[in-house]
């Protein structure tokens, strides 16, 4: 409760969630100088691994021109003016100097999968390939004591410098015994706190790590929570979505490498460059929404003509994410583009509140007391029916036994 009070206080005193797309020439000039100095500083450091970005690009058949196109698109995504494009290109090369520790907690590893299973790595994935991944619980070759030793070493060597990526929720039920890791049986909770202690910043990736995601869906048997509920007093960035878009992960790391700061965040700690806009407002099917042209069932004439998916349960109007702009897999496609609605995967409690495939008005929801699930309209009509019955009884009773004023004057005196 006190958390909630604090959050409300913060809301009333903080600036609006307006996305500042142009902060003025002076601001960008200053930032440019700062970023240049920072990049020079990093250039002097020894790379933490021998992976070379230019080689990797060449190996994957991506030429310089394509890379520069990507760099200018990424600059735009980060809401920086075009003069930053060369700096972004430089920062990418410097990515092998950014130590990263990646924790895998209670989830399906879908965010790692999103990177690994990409059909022919695109530039986003290559950038994530060359970051100095010191420890990744799913990907590393080491196991057991060896793996733990590797983590200890990385944490010691890059103390206060490494970025901690967290994938998956933290089970808090049964003293955290739902999820343990390593030979010592350390709970996910303790593990996370220990790794977060000396991190420069913590990045929660995917819906589970940010808001608890599917593990936290009702009835949440493991008491799963997101990183933001557990890690306090650390710079924390949330990159929700299921899975998180690699473009946004790269954006956050690049922003950090380039400026040494976390990007501007909204009230849910999501970077505004990625989560500042509503899917609905940049959706290619928006015109059909306004025109009242909806897909009524899968495969009907509306579906064949790319009509709006609102009646099939699309949650684009309530979801903030940039997938309608950057899409997935280097702009190949995205959920609404393939003809199915958005399930609001980057919003808190998405599994319970967004992912049902029907409009909110038709969704069965739990009463606050638990128990019976009814749609809002069923409940409302029930309430109205009860009222009508009450009115009917009173009206009938009045008609039979009611006393009109002025009929028997003597009694009312």
């Amino acid at each position: 409760m006190s958390d909630r009070v604090e959050a409300v206080k913060k809301l009333f005193t903080s600036k609006s969630s307006r996305v500042e797309t142009n902060k003025g020439d002076t601001y960008y000039q200053d930032l440019f100088v700062k970023c240049e100095a920072r990049l020079n500083e990093m250039r002097a450091q020894a790379p933490a691994n021998r992976l070379d970005f230019s080689d990797l690009l060449e190996d994957n058949g991506i030429d310089r021109r394509e890379f520069m196109k990507w760099a200018s698109a990424t600059t735009a995504m980060l809401m920086l003016p075009p003069m930053f494009t060369p700096l972004i290109a430089d920062a990418v090369v410097m990515m092998n100097r950014a130590p990263v520790i990646w924790l895998e907690l209670q989830d399906c590893a879908g965010n790692s999968e999103a990177l690994l299973r990409a059909d022919g790595p695109k530039i986003d994935e290559i950038v994530l390939d060359i970051i100095s991944l010191e420890y990744h619980e799913t990907l590393q070759a080491a196991s057991g004591h060896q793996a733990e030793k590797q983590m200890e070493e990385a944490m010691e060597l890059f103390k206060g410098k490494y970025i901690l990526f967290v994938e998956g929720s933290i089970p808090m039920g049964m003293n955290g015994q739902y999820g343990t890791i390593g030979a010592s049986g350390e709970t996910f909770h303790d593990h996370l706190l220990r790794c977060a202690e000396n991190a420069a910043a913590v990045v929660a990736v995917g819906s589970c790590a940010t808001f608890g995601g599917i593990p936290a869906a009702s009835p949440n048997p493991t008491g799963a929570v997101g990183v933001m509920d557990v890690v306090k007093n650390k710079p924390l960035i949330n990159i929700p979505a299921c899975p998180a878009n690699p473009a946004n992960m790269v954006g956050v790391i690049l922003h950090y490498v380039l400026t040494g700061q976390v990007p501007e965040l909204d009230s849910l700690l999501r970077p505004k460059f990625a989560f500042g806009y509503r899917i609905h407002d940049n959706c290619e099917r928006r015109a059909h929404f306004d025109a009242g042209e909806y897909v009524e069932e899968w495969g009907d004439a509306g579906a064949q003509n790319n009509f709006c998916l609102y009646k099939m349960g699309c949650k684009g109007p309530m979801t903030f994410n940039n997938c309608s702009i950057v899409r997935y897999n280097e702009g190949v496609n995205w959920p609404i583009g393939v003809g199915r609605g958005c399930i609001g995967c980057s919003e808190p409690d998405f599994w319970d509140k967004y992912a049902y495939e029907r409009p909110m008005a038709d969704a069965k929801i739990k009463a606050p007391t638990g128990g019976v699930e009814k749609s809002v309209d069923e409940f409302g009509l029930g309430l109205l029916t009860a009222t009508a019955i009450g009115i009917g009884i009173h009206a009938a009773a009045s008609a039979v036994a009611g006393k009109k004023s002025g009929e028997c004057e003597g009694e009312s005196k």
Binding site: R18, R278, D377, K404
Partner: protein, 235 residues
């Protein structure tokens, strides 16, 4: 006029205008709001988009009626305290007299008008509370509705200036925390619509019932502004 009765003024023209503007606005808001929540009629698929803009018109109606209710709410707030007619707040304060009057009005309905021990000349405490409840529901709809509305102003700019979305965030973002995100706000906004519909059903019934059983022409208050009560001096 029936002998032994006198006419009492209850609602000034301004109050009646507010009442009927609210009636029209709420009916239109419910009809358009239900469409927004779940588009319940189909548009002709063969019809090109240029001459239909069905969801957009429904949303337009919804926002316009919301603005009407917002404006009348300001009027109502003013009349609550300053107005020279009823000053409903004097009947809202939980004084001993108001509480017992509230109970008497309830008993009047429960005894099917056998017991009537309060002054029907002026607004009674029960109606004062009942009407205040409606105003609270409308204000609640205003806050939750404007929160849903500001989602579309993510850019932070609007045709009337950036102060508008800024102000909306400032005064309505608390609903996100209290009701659990965008969808929680949608739930309660939709749910409250049903509470308002139930309220309206009860309100209309009570006024008709009073008109029939009190024999004082209560229903006329909202139309002509006056009702009739027994003239004590003639008793």
């Amino acid at each position: 006029m029936k002998p032994g009765y006198k006419k009492v003024e209850r609602m000034t023209p301004i109050m009646r205008i507010i009442h009927w503007v609210n009636v029209v606005a709420i009916v239109a808001a419910v009809v358009s709001g239900l469409y927004i929540a779940h588009p319940y009629y189909e548009t002709f698929i063969s019809d090109p988009a240029l001459d239909k803009y069905v969801m957009a018109w429904n949303r337009w109606v919804h926002f316009m009626t919301a603005i009407l209710v917002d404006v009348t709410s300001i009027w109502v707030a003013y009349l609550y305290v300053i107005g020279d007619k009823e000053r409903p707040w004097t009947k809202l304060v939980p004084t001993k007299r108001n509480i017992s009057e509230f109970g008497e009005v309830v008993l009047n309905a429960l005894t099917l008008n056998r017991r009537k021990r309060f002054d029907t000349k002026e607004m009674d405490s029960f109606n004062a509370v009942w009407f205040a409840l409606m105003h609270l529901l409308l204000i609640f709809m205003l806050f939750t509705g404007l929160q849903l509305y500001v989602h579309g102003l993510a850019s932070g700019i609007s045709s009337i200036g950036s102060w508008w979305p800024w102000m909306l965030h400032l005064v309505t973002d608390w609903t996100l925390f209290v009701f659990g995100g965008n969808m929680g706000v949608r739930y309660v906004h939709h749910m409250t619509m049903w509470l308002i519909v139930v309220w309206v059903a009860c309100h209309i019934y009570v006024q008709i019932w009073r008109t029939i059983y009190w024999q004082e022409g209560d229903i006329a208050i909202a139309f002509g502004g006056s009702k009739f009560v027994k003239d004590d001096k003639l008793d």
